[in-house]
Symmetry: C4
Subunit: 274 residues, 4 copies
């Protein structure tokens, strides 16, 4: 065999090795990261936090197939951002849509919106301090909403419950319904029930939590069901010494200040998205 042919055989060998080994050694490259919705000009960090909030709340059993989380727009404070209607577990930055002050999508492009976006729109309209909102069907609070039992802060982690979580009964806003906040009128009634609190129970439905940042609304949403579970137990043991109003105010400041650590831990459990 000629030297040329040998060289060709060797090169073929190397090429064959490369062709076989290379794809195995380097897994097929991940699909190119989906482009963030072209029309959104918001701070990408805000959108990333909103996506993480969706994933964390699912991971922490606060949201299941239902429920949603939103954030006030940093570009236009009368607008807010929320995922299109889908399971929070699967939300990516590509699913985030912008809504106007009435809860209507700015640029739907055929994407379906959450039916109960009016919960968010109504609260943003009357609470300028609120920057993020969660609506959850978390089971643990249901017994409180259906018995008119007020949730009070049992410990410093749920100090944000303050003087107690009010309860919204949709019958007061709209008579006999299917329990869903389907329009701004019901949304306004709900926001009125919320008042200046950070958590509102919804009879026969779930709860709403509001805060001045995404990490904080996620913390409130995780600790509200925990407080419900513990308060139910405590009430069976005897008279309960809740946090006093002064303790609740001070502890809420401390817990708010320390939200960075659990936020990073919750994010680390999710890992990289996309």
């Amino acid at each position: 065999m000629s030297g040329l042919r040998i060289g060709v055989l060797v090169a073929v060998c190397a090429a064959l090795c490369a062709a076989i080994v290379l794809p195995a050694a380097r897994p097929a490259p991940q699909p190119a990261a989906a482009q963030a919705s072209a029309s959104l000009t918001n701070d990408p960090k805000l959108i990333e936090d909103l996506v993480y909030a969706n994933r964390i709340l699912y991971d922490q059993d606060v949201l299941d197939g239902f429920g949603h989380v939103s954030v006030r727009s940093d570009k236009d404070p009368s607008h807010f951002l929320m995922s299109r209607s889908m399971a929070p577990a699967l939300v990516t930055s590509n699913d985030i849509m912008e809504y106007d002050r009435n809860g209507e999508p700015v640029d739907a492009r055929g994407r379906i919106s959450y039916l109960e976006r009016y919960i968010h729109a109504a609260i943003y309209r009357v609470r300028p301090d609120v920057k993020a909102i969660v609506h959850s069907h978390s089971p643990e609070v249901i017994p409180f909403g259906v018995t008119g039992t007020i949730l009070h802060p049992l410990y410093h982690m749920s100090a944000f419950l303050g003087a107690g979580a009010p309860i919204f009964d949709i019958r007061e806003g709209a008579g006999a319904t299917d329990m869903l906040v389907r329009n701004n009128a019901i949304g306004d009634a709900l926001a009125k029930s919320l008042g200046s609190s950070y958590v509102l129970l919804m009879r026969g439905h779930g709860f709403v939590a509001v805060a001045n940042s995404i990490p904080r609304v996620v913390l409130y949403s995780i600790y509200t069901p925990i407080n419900a579970r513990l308060q139910a137990e405590a009430m069976k043991l005897g008279a309960v010494d809740y946090l006093t109003p002064e303790e609740a105010t001070k502890a809420a400041v401390a817990t708010d200040a320390g939200v960075g650590r659990p936020w990073e831990l919750w994010k680390s459990r999710i890992g990289k998205i996309e």
Copy 2:
């Protein structure tokens, strides 16, 4: 050594590399998907949903080693489909069998049937609106069945409980038994107890859920134990404001309409089968 031999050695090297690396780099191909039972002419999508229902109900702790789910045949509405007797966690399309109106297998071919298939047969006979049935031993409902406590809908997610879940006591149908629905006579007594409801508790046994589709019967089966758990808690807190009959009717329509999203989420947790 001749050029020819060198070429052979190089080729052997390349082949050796390929023979070693290729199987390691590319996992052995999955076994060819099992053939769906040759005798079934039903819509493959129906069979696939039935298989997923088995897996989802196990994943969601509604079925353990016991319990079963069936669907009315789309080819012959007096017949129904159900897995052969085995743990729901492991059901594949190859395990699905067809049953006649009396709950007897059409083409057993030596495969064992679930002993309590008469629960399904009896209900399909008297409820033309029912297209899918689940029988579960889910623990959370047991305390209700053994104390004669009626399950009422606490929130919109369990609105399908309507005016409350009736309770079947097998002693009324068959005296002292081993608690199992072993024949059509007991099945008929059970179906009579169910009436027009979507959920029936079975004293000292578990529950049955029925619906007009597989995704809906799965949703009812997942939320029935949750409602039981929450109702037990609520009853300890005080007088309970259940959904009113009108709220339950309206909310059930809304929840039924929205079953697609949780169904897809539950399927995504299972992933590809086979």
Copy 3:
């Protein structure tokens, strides 16, 4: 370069490829399966089931770092087999030891035995029908043992509780102790409390379950804590309709007969051992 040198270079290339790729492609072979204890002549299937029982009971949260399971020897019915003292989660066939009728190891070879093996020895001595025993610290039964509340079968899955589970208070057997069954005298007092039942609660300690096979004692051990949890809930709802004696007897026969399916499912969750 000479043909010889080319051949050598090619061979070196192949050898280098092999040396690099082979270890990566084939993970280091598993250590040769540990030899079953040379001195045991028991049916290997019996030993395998015993190992699986350890793993299953840990997987099902019946055993944690403590507790143990044994089986009567098929070679000498006055002897029994049990793991050396270690966490059940980690037991392999190599850890199984043989014990005589007094609970002393036949061939210790330096291996430490479970301190409370006398629970097993004492029961095997007086219950010829018993072939397998589990001792568990499962928390759910503790409230029953410390309040003298009898566990009764709530549903067919726990029918083996029969007329109710007796409670052993070690003070009656041995005065003030550290709660552990450290010798045959205490073991005899415990076996006397067990009587002809299949489950015995131990005040301030846990429970013991006995059966005529390993799969059945595992089933009894899994469903005893579940029954405890449900009975606690039921008793808060109202007067409880337990299984009648006749129902319990009949249902126990049916559940015993059907133990194969959950046993295979529990084993499949463990997978291959070693």
Copy 4:
């Protein structure tokens, strides 16, 4: 082509194969184990146990994003070791810092300390028998602290509760606060409440556990919430027969002696760190 060039090509082929396959076949070597903090001269085994304690307590749901564990220094018994302020789930040996008798870091180098280190400092000052301390927000104990209900040992596993766990109400030490032990004055009040016990509940906050070794303080911290959960259930069933003082003393000795087995099991669940 010359023999030399062929040889070069073959060598290049082999080198190319090696360069491609080697990194894929052998995952990038772990970062060189982080150097233990250069300034710490403690027994590396002590530091390793402290790191494991952090990971185990998170794995066992005793610590979440908050709470901490410390160990008395083996070099200077007036000092103690604890991680810098971070989530216990992520602690490595590199995060361990040394604190003096007042709870101030010996060599901070810019690292932030846990705000509530004064809990640990104060207890080490007055309890020479204590070698390790855990502070946890574990929810299960909260109902007891807020209702003044004393935790008593229900079974041998929680015998360390002895005559009952005292409750510290921070209002007695410092009036209306944010519930946090922010200085040595509050720490001293807390240590006084602890007295000679091994567990102290903190109203509206959580609990503290102390022991003479890291494995034991981890065991106490895991079984305290379990005892709380069971005691709540038992109290609903009837009058509770807790361990008598003599039983508790004896059982605590036995459980302490046997801590090695669960400690190894808990460590095996964590696996290798770094």
